[in-house]
């Protein structure tokens, strides 16, 4: 039995750097990054988020899922000798030597209020709530700012001509980090437009499959009550037998 314990201890040891803070032991490769202009020497193989924590910051804003889904850690940076402005997610991007970065944990953005039950899924609905879409000059800055590499300009253009399906499909992987909206010269909030398009398309563009409605009716009519009552009275052994013998599709 002590074997299991020592295995657990070995696992804990192997994961120490990721479950507690990193220390300097055994780190051979270093880079220098600049957090809002302040230089920090950090281990070379970290993500921006890990490096910021290594440098001594405990995130209040700017850390969410830490896996690339929530958009909390939007970061913009430049690299030495390069004029280009890059956008990235801190939790998904490796540090580079000479990286000049800042985090953007919040974007001020007006989200329209609507009741999609009362809206018509026509070409005008997106323009109705976000008329600023018409200001789009196709400059492509939003696409360049997107850490998910989405074709943002393309979905704004689809929104402009009222193509709900295309807007929904092209914007689907959007994590609403806000960088597109901040950079847009026409001051459009692209991700809010995408959200409305997806809800309208999801509700009106996709057909309603018959299956849930049917089953819901059956449940409401109490079709399964007897079976449930029997199950809920069964003892453990009987249930185990039923479980093991159940037929898999």
């Amino acid at each position: 039995m002590s074997d299991e314990k020592s295995i657990m201890e070995r696992i804990r040891e192997a994961n120490k750097a990721y479950t507690t803070g990193l220390d300097d032991e055994g780190i051979e490769h270093w880079v220098t990054i600049y957090l809002m202009g302040k230089a920090y020497k950090v281990p070379a193989d970290l993500t921006i988020m890990q490096a910021i924590e290594y440098a001594g910051y405990q995130f209040i804003r700017g850390s969410g899922c830490r896996a690339g889904f929530c958009g909390a850690c939007a970061t913009v940076y430049r690299k030495k000798g390069d004029y280009k402005l890059h956008a990235a997610l801190a939790c998904q991007t490796r540090v580079e030597d000479g990286m000049y970065l800042v985090q953007i944990p919040f974007t001020p953005a007006e989200k329209a209020s609507y009741n999609i039950n009362k809206e018509v899924p026509d070409e005008q609905v997106l323009l109705k709530y976000y008329p600023e879409i018409a200001r789009c000059v196709s400059c492509n800055t939003c696409t360049k700012a997107c850490p998910q590499e989405l074709q943002v300009m393309d979905y704004v253009q689809a929104a402009l001509r009222g193509d709900l399906q295309k807007t929904a499909e092209l914007s689907f992987d959007c994590i609403q980090c806000g960088l597109c909206a901040l950079r847009c010269p026409a001051e459009i909030c692209q991700y809010h437009v995408g959200q409305l398009a997806r809800r309208m398309y999801g509700k009106y563009g996709l057909s309603e499959p018959p299956s849930p409605a049917q089953r819901i009716q059956e449940i409401e009519q109490g079709r399964y009550e007897d079976q449930f009552n029997r199950l809920m009275k069964m003892g453990r052994d009987e249930l185990e037998k039923l479980y093991n013998e159940r037929e898999k599709e």
Partner: protein, 552 residues
């Protein structure tokens, strides 16, 4: 450590093993290991981090005194409050509401919507978040949502699947409520505009999951949680229901009779506190992955620190099934930047196999999670048939390229765009090369005991989502967590609204329960240095921490 040369994102020394994976693929396609017998299951479970000795102890104080729970959670349950009741002026109420919801993931947001649907005006609801609204485990859920809506399926089968998966310890009436509400949840989401995956005929594409006897997992690519949550959140925002961000709850408030009457919220950016009086309080604070139980990495988000359980426990809530912890069998193990992140079971549902360093499939790919995880740990640490990463983590292969053959060319990119994107960012093409995985801390199976209406044993306190205990028993199946959140979020919202409408007097506000709890801690000899709730994990570099001083 000498310079590592990388090929296709992997260190050179792993290439030999990767080649074996590619070479064995054709043969393995037809030779899938058989699923384990009951005896084989028992034989392997001993190495599971939840069963291996040394990780748990008896709780020393409170309603579940004497019950076993992991050390890291016991540390928080047996801990002193962060606030001193003497510092709080309870006479000055900042928000006076009908329903306070603590936690804005799927469960909390669903609760707000249903409370509003059931007659509570938006001004009567307040949703508060420790981080932003939506920062949660929900938003990262990749697999899907189970619902027995097809004619070939039935809620009875869904019930049985979950019951067996839960080792027959699930609370029957609560489980029944969940499986019966499931088809309604799918319909509700459709009405709100969620885009679930469809086939050409317009029917839902429904998938396998570990332990399910029917295909009933509804998903939206591998962004299911994100799609569901952003639709609910968008509806919430459209209704302009009041919301707070960066305002975690640090204590509940109770009256002299022990009813929960609100909470103290704390502004993490300014240190200011708010007193909230509420006729009903719903805790939807999620899980505890950031406790890193047994030192495991986690799939959970930054804020998963068991705050809600601690707060409820101090108020006298009964907990259940917190003696078990769910480890997801496949967390990313390489590269180090993504250690612990969820590699959804959907991959195995689509055909991926789990392989050792010789490219051999050593376990049936879709065992229930605890079995699958144990098999992997055994292969790594007992049989030593694993890959060791540059950071000395042990891991096995998950043959993702096999999915392209089983489910069709292009299926990986189409069904798992989030994951393909994640690996691409680090130079690995998971459609062409396998990925390394190891079990990771994933889910809190138990929690505050609840009933079909989201009640707890304390009047005025409701729970919904991962914080609750009973619906999954001692082990949750894939696709039942997002379902749990939405079913019980809706129920808690509905029944809290009903409770409020029945005519509840706004309660007196005291921290007596906290003072009482402190007495219990003193009796048990717990030192005051240990404090809870944790609120945020601490990953600050040790070197820097050693040189930090408080000057301002």
């Amino acid at each position: 450590m000498t310079e590592l040369k990388f090929i296709r994102g992997y260190p050179e020394y792993m290439l030999e093993s990767i080649e074996l994976v590619h070479r064995t693929r054709d043969r393995r396609r037809k030779e899938i290991p058989a699923s384990m017998t009951m005896q084989e299951r028992e034989d392997v479970l001993h190495i599971h981090p939840d069963y291996a000795p040394g990780g748990k102890r008896k709780i020393k104080a409170g309603p579940n005194r004497g019950d076993i729970t992991p050390n890291e959670l016991a540390d928080l349950l047996e801990a002193w409050p962060r606030i001193d009741p003497g510092d709080i002026d309870l006479g000055n109420i900042d928000h006076d509401v009908d329903i306070l919801i603590i936690g804005g993931g799927l469960a909390g947001t669903a609760a707000a919507l249903l409370a509003n649907d059931n007659g509570v005006p938006k001004e009567g609801i307040l949703l508060t978040n420790k981080l932003r609204h939506g920062d949660s485990n929900s938003i990262m859920a990749q697999g899907g949502t189970q619902a027995a809506d097809r004619p070939e399926d039935s809620p009875i089968l869904h019930y049985l699947d979950a019951l067996g998966g839960g080792h027959f310890t699930n609370k029957p009436d609560v489980l029944k409520a969940m499986v019966e509400d499931a088809p309604s949840v799918i319909r509700w989401l459709g009405e709100l505009g969620a885009m679930f995956d469809r086939d050409e005929q317009g029917n839902f594409i429904e998938l396998w999951g570990g332990g399910t006897s029917r295909k009933r997992m509804h998903s939206a690519k591998d962004y299911t949680g994100m799609e569901e949550l952003r639709v609910l959140r968008d509806e919430f925002r459209s209704r302009e229901i009041p919301v707070l961000e960066f305002y975690p709850a640090v204590e509940l408030l109770t009256d002299r009779a022990g009813r929960v009457t609100g909470a103290i919220l704390w502004n993490t950016e300014t240190g200011q506190y708010k007193v909230v009086r509420a006729k009903a309080t719903i805790l939807a604070t999620g899980g505890f992955g950031r406790l890193h139980i047994r030192g495991f990495p986690t799939t959970n988000h930054y804020g998963a620190t068991a705050d809600g359980i601690v707060l409820a426990y101090r108020a006298g809530a009964k907990l259940r099934d917190l003696d078990t912890v769910q480890y997801h069998p496949t967390g990313a193990a390489y590269p180090q930047q993504i250690i612990g992140l969820l590699i959804t079971e959907k991959l195995r549902g689509m055909g991926a196999q789990v392989l050792n360093k010789r490219g051999e499939a050593f376990v049936y790919p879709l065992e229930p999670r605890d079995i699958e995880a144990s098999a992997i740990i055994r292969e790594c640490y007992e049989h030593e048939n694993c890959i060791v990463t540059p950071t000395r983590m042990r891991a096995v292969w998950l043959d993702s390229p096999l999915i392209e053959e089983v489910s069709g060319k292009g299926s990986v990119e189409r069904e798992l765009p989030a994951m393909v994107r994640m690996y691409k960012r680090f130079g690995i093409d998971m459609r062409k090369d396998p990925i390394l995985v190891f079990p990771t801390l994933h889910y809190q199976n138990g929690g505050v005991e609840t009933d079909p209406k989201g009640h707890t044993n304390i009047e005025g306190l409701f729970v919904a989502g991962e914080i609750s205990g009973g619906v999954h028993g001692k082990n949750r199946l894939i696709g039942n967590s997002t379902l749990d959140c939405m079913v019980f979020g809706r129920r808690a919202g509905t029944y809290a609204a009903q409770y409020v409408k029945e005519g509840v007097e706004p309660g007196e506000l005291t921290l007596k329960h906290v003072e009482g709890y402190v007495e219990l801690l003193k009796e048990a000899g717990i030192p005051p240095e240990r404090k809870a709730p944790m609120l945020l994990p601490d990953y600050r570099g040790k070197t820097v921490l050693a040189r930090m001083i408080d000057v301002l």
